[in-house]
């Protein structure tokens, strides 16, 4: 079975090839007569599906290996080697990346299938699938990369794809701006990533710059350097996974087509940051200070975006903020060294968030791109399948037992408590309540009560099968995925955690089941409270309220975007125009200009000396002569 490792290279390659093929086809035909959408769709799905099966093969091969040697590396070629720095284009499959591999390819394939339905009739059908394939390929490189540099390739690749996909409907400026915002903010994070890598390299990179060797050399790091590396890398994670202060791009990213929002900006890409922190668990576990900071940033992000979520009116925005908030949870998890829990939450979240987005997508699709929840209502009769699936998704998101979200989230909170971060635990519980609230606010507003926009309601209809089937599959996942990591409390044996054991550096604190039960109850209670409040307010349908005071602040996201704009963007542009309008012509260049001016002036004055009177010339001679003789009398004796 040794040759299995050689398949690994194919897994990211297939979608990339697909992307290139589709891209070329589209590029040459989009101005003339395009190929049929069927062809595009088929081509687009080949790559992802194949790599999903390959992933399965590799995964099971991995499972068959003994626990302590569960890692397959495939060194495709030496990327570049300069001095001590040697970077191989090599792929590593170990339990962590294996798991990630599975659900990235799985969800990826689902989204491709779904998109065939959703994007039908768009004149840039081909382009869309080109990007989608490209994205999947980059994501897989990110996951499989055997070292930080290769990971960075995928890292930037997905950034690019999200830019392209967000600004997919590029004719209207809003989307393009959103895309730019996403790319630039991601770049800010990438700066951190690059610097972190560099520091890491100079510290311990000379002994090999891939995870395994780095893990082996971690002990050589001094605390200062180590923490610096962790934090710099975390900046990168903040950019990619939309944490404070770089979360601003994610909500705008909803400008893209809904499948994109679902796939990229909920399920896979945004969790890259979490994955990265988990990848470097050997460092974050080693330098707990950094971990704690990560945890706090995460939980605060969760809180902040939960607050935003409670007041939004755009269905996709609500989901977007819930994503940010869930990401916060994940970081809190990996921050408190509950890596497996964090990853598990990524896993479950992928299901229910993708589900919710796609559900939202089919709702929007049904209402002809109406996204304002205050224009919906009572749709549960019109589109029952969507309703049911989304309800499951909502319960999972809210963390209502026994749905998947409950287990993963609760695991995180419990670990936080267990590792002594009581503050984080408290906030976490609070956020859980808020999450439940805004999730069900959404459900009630959309599906219950009475239609607010009658004619939109009348035209509404259930989505086609190609769209609902993925919904149902995902719903199943969202409902049941929790079982995979059933805590010992319920007689489970934490399959995922144990599976991830070899590639993560974490220790399971032992606390009495009593405490665990109490904690669990607390969060359940919080969830229930949240849901009831939501029902009280919106259960029987409510009209759009006038936001005032805190709600107004929340609705406007505390004006953070405006503040950023005023503090960073505008000054930046200002400086730019100052330089090019004023500094460049008048200051930087002025020295030269001044010199030439002096030169010319002196020239004209000398011109004036040529008076043309021969006597005066003789006079010059005599003056020169006398000055020279003075000079001589000075210099000689």
């Amino acid at each position: 079975m040794e040759h299995t490792a050689n398949y690994i290279g194919l897994i990211p390659l297939l979608p990339l090839v697909g992307a290139v093929v589709i891209g070329l086809m589209h590029m040459f035909t989009c101005t003339g007569k395009a190929f049929s959408e069927k062809l595009y769709g088929a081509l687009a799905c080949v790559g992802p599906v194949l790599s999903f099966f390959l992933a399965l093969v590799v995964f099971f091969h991995l499972r068959d290996l003994p626990v302590d040697q569960r890692h397959l590396t495939h060194n495709v070629f030496t990327w570049f080697a300069v001095g001590d720095l040697k970077v191989d284009m090599a792929f590593l499959v170990d339990p962590l990346s294996g798991l990630y591999l599975l659900f990235v390819t799985f969800i990826g394939s689902l989204i491709h299938i779904y998109s065939i339905g959703y994007m039908a009739g768009d004149e840039n059908f081909g382009k869309f699938f080109c990007y989608l394939n490209l994205f999947l390929g980059s994501m897989l490189i990110l996951v499989l990369g055997s070292g930080p540099v290769v990971m960075f390739v995928g890292w930037e690749g997905v950034g690019l794809c999200s830019y392209l996909l967000i600004s997919f409907f590029a004719t209207d400026t809003e989307n393009v701006l959103a895309g730019n915002k996403a790319f630039i903010v991601n770049r800010i994070g990438d700066l951190g990533f690059v610097l972190g890598m560099s520091v890491l390299f100079w510290a311990i990179g000379s002994g090999g710059f891939d995870y395994l060797s780095l893990k082996a050399n971690t002990h050589l790091l001094t605390p200062g350097v180590g923490i610096a590396v962790c934090l710099l890398l975390f900046i990168g994670a903040c950019g990619k996974s939309a944490q404070i202060p770089l979360y601003v791009w994610l909500p705008d990213a909803m400008a893209g087509p809904t499948p994109v929002s679902a796939l990229i900006h909920a399920a896979t890409m945004v969790t890259a940051g979490v994955y990265m922190v988990a990848r470097f668990s050997f460092m974050y576990a080693h330098f707990t200070t950094a971990g704690t900071i990560v945890a706090w940033v995460g939980i605060l992000t969760a809180l902040l975006s939960a607050i935003y979520g409670m007041f939004q009116s755009d269905i996709k925005k609500i989901l977007a903020y819930s994503t940010v908030s869930q990401l916060g949870y994940m970081f809190a998890g990996v921050g408190v060294a509950a890596y497996s829990a964090g990853i598990f939450h990524v896993f479950t979240h992928a299901f229910f968030k993708a589900l919710l987005f796609l559900g939202a997508g089919s709702v929007i699709y049904a209402l002809h791109h109406q996204q304002d929840v205050w224009q919906m209502g009572g749709l549960k009769n019109k589109m029952p399948r969507t309703y049911m699936t989304m309800l499951i998704g909502a319960l999972a998101l809210a963390g209502f037992p026994p749905f998947s979200g409950f287990f993963s989230k609760d695991e995180i909170l419990f670990m936080a408590l267990a590792n002594g971060h009581t503050g984080i635990w408290l906030i976490g519980v609070l956020v859980a309540a808020m999450t439940a609230y805004y999730t069900f606010r959404l459900i009630f507003l959309v599906f219950h009560g009475t239609p607010r926009n009658q004619e939109a309601y009348d035209h509404a209809h259930e989505a086609p099968a190609v769209m609902t089937v993925p919904l149902i599959v995902l719903a199943a996942g969202a409902a049941l995925a929790g079982v995979l990591n059933l805590p010992a409390l319920f007689g489970g044996n934490m399959v995922v955690s144990t599976w991830l054991e070899p590639s993560l550096t974490e220790h399971h604190p032992h606390m009495s089941h009593g405490v665990e039960i109490l904690a669990m109850l607390a969060s359940v209670v919080a969830v229930v409270i949240g849901i009831t409040i939501a029902y009280k307010k919106f259960g029987q349908g409510a009209e759009e309220p006038e936001f005032t005071g805190f709600a107004k602040l929340g609705y406007h996201k505390f004006y953070v975007d405006e503040i950023y704009n005023a503090v960073f963007v505008q000054p930046f542009k200002g400086i730019g125009s100052v330089i090019s309008r004023f500094l460049e012509p008048n200051v930087t260049d002025s020295f030269v200009k001044f010199a030439t001016w002096i030169y010319r002036k002196a020239g004209t004055s000398f011109k004036a000396l040529q008076v043309g009177y021969v006597r005066v010339y003789a006079l010059y001679m005599v003056i020169g002569l006398s000055l020279m003789s003075l000079f001589l009398s000075q210099s000689i004796n």
């Binding site: 011109k607 010339y617 001679m621 020169g624 003789s629 000079f631 001589l632």
Partner: protein, 469 residues
């Protein structure tokens, strides 16, 4: 016998001059033929010089007229340059006077006489001989400058030149007298022996040398004795200006070098003084040049700057084993460029020199691309852009200056050549980057044109294969 051999070129040219004067008696003889005849003689002299000077040793004949003249490789080289200048000037005169008819055969005769004076000057090893040679040269040049008796400007030019020249000459004589008083002789050899005997700066000597320097500074238009040069160049006719700018400068610098290289002690005394003169000359020249709108005046001013560079070389010479190779090479390089410029001016200038300003040459490249290209080459050579002769000259000078430890002087020289880019480029720009307003038609014989392109070849030839003397 050796006296005769070493003087042979001189004699040839002198004979040619006399012959021309006699021929001048025949009315039917064309002026053009005069030019050709003189060219023949210059050529002959040039080759004789080449043959005689071909020897490897440094000083060939050091005891001519018991030490009044001496020919070294350096003086030979200077002589070659002078003959060359005479030759090419005759070529450009040939065309020039085809258009501006005020020439007679005597013109060429006088020119050859002054060449004699120049060559004598390069060999002079005795002050009064030098003075006489200087005067032979100058008297000839005076006449050439004012040859167009009908033009007031020419007359004014000769007035200024003559008056100030005589003024400077008086200084020379006074200096000679003082040195004679100090050293008891006016022969360079004796003077150097005297200095070697009593190195303490002897006031009479210093004063005398100073006066002689004044005179020389005047001739090479060092700052602040430069004022005349702009006006005189402007007033004189183009070929003559070219002749003055090159041959005269070569001769005088030959004398200057021979004199300053008397003995290292003497040279050492004057280094600081020359340093400042060089600096002032370079920058003063640039400042004069930048303001000019007339090309001849600009070239005159740039001539001042080049004198400054040559002064750098003089500061840097090593008086112990003086070869003068750097100076010789620079003189040749400068001569080629300048002669080319004036040759071009003399056939492009038209009758009565109606094209002399920068603006008159606008769009030349559109109408006469080759002439424009040639002029550009000369300008680049003067500016010292490789691979022209001017570059190698500048390179040698900087090298010698730095080897002599005169880093500051080298840098200042470089700075001044940066400044000089300005007015050289200005002409290129007006030739190339503007549209032609006229058709630059030229009549008259094509010799000047030919000489221009021959000189272009020389510019590159000397630049790429620098014959280090």
């Amino acid at each position: 016998m050796q006296d005769f051999v070493s003087l042979l070129p001189l004699i040839v040219v002198g004979a040619g001059a006399i012959l021309l004067m006699l021929l001048a008696a025949f009315e039917k003889l064309e002026v053009e033929t005069g030019a050709l005849i003189s060219m023949v003689f210059y050529g002959a002299a040039f080759f004789i010089q080449l043959v005689v000077g071909g020897g490897p040793q440094d000083v060939i004949f050091d005891k001519i007229f018991n030490g009044m003249l001496a020919t070294s490789n350096f003086s030979m080289a200077a002589g070659l340059v002078i003959f060359g200048c005479g030759f090419f000037t005759s070529m450009s005169c040939h065309s020039y006077f085809g258009v501006n008819k005020f020439c007679t055969l005597d013109f060429y005769a006088i020119k050859m006489f002054s060449v004699c004076g120049m060559v004598l000057l390069t060999m002079a090893q005795e002050l009064v001989t030098a003075f006489i040679a200087l005067e032979i040269m100058s008297l000839g040049i005076y006449i050439l400058v004012g040859y167009d008796r009908t033009r007031l400007t020419a007359t004014e030019a000769i007035l200024k030149y003559l008056m100030l020249g005589a003024f400077a000459g008086a200084f020379f004589t006074m200096g000679a007298a003082l040195i004679y008083g100090g050293a008891g002789s006016t022969k360079f050899v004796a003077i150097s022996q005297f200095i070697a005997a009593n190195p303490a700066g002897q006031p009479l000597l210093i004063g005398g040398a100073f006066f002689i320097f004044i005179a020389i500074f005047f001739k090479i238009a060092a700052f602040p004795f430069h004022a005349w040069v702009v006006d005189v160049y402007d007033g004189a006719s183009a070929p003559v200006t070219g002749f003055m700018a090159t041959a005269l400068k070569a001769a005088v610098f030959a004398l200057f070098a021979n004199f300053i290289a008397l003995s290292s002690g003497f040279h050492g005394q004057w280094i600081d003084f020359l340093f400042w003169v060089a600096v002032l000359t370079m920058f003063g020249g640039n400042l004069v040049a930048i303001g000019q709108s007339n090309i001849k005046r600009m070239l005159a001013a740039s001539g001042i700057v080049h004198s400054g560079y040559l002064l750098i070389a003089l500061v840097a010479i090593n008086a112990e084993q003086f070869t003068g190779s750097v100076i010789g090479y620079y003189l040749a390089a400068y001569a080629v460029g300048t002669l080319g410029m004036f040759a071009a001016m003399s056939y492009l200038g038209g009758s009565g020199e109606k094209r002399v300003n920068f603006d008159d040459f606008k769009g030349l490249a559109k109408v006469r691309p080759y002439s424009a290209a040639a002029i550009t080459v000369f300008l680049l050579s003067m500016a010292g852009i490789p691979p022209t002769a001017g570059f190698m000259g500048k390179f040698y000078i900087i090298t010698s200056a730095i080897s002599a430890g005169q880093m500051a002087l080298a840098v200042l020289g470089v700075v001044s050549s940066i400044l000089s880019m300005w007015y050289y480029l200005r002409l290129v720009i007006s030739m190339y980057f503007h549209d032609a307003s006229e058709s630059f038609e030229t009549q008259g014989a094509p010799l000047a044109t030919i000489s221009t392109f021959v000189l272009v070849v020389f510019v590159f030839a000397i630049g790429l294969y620098p014959i280090v003397i």
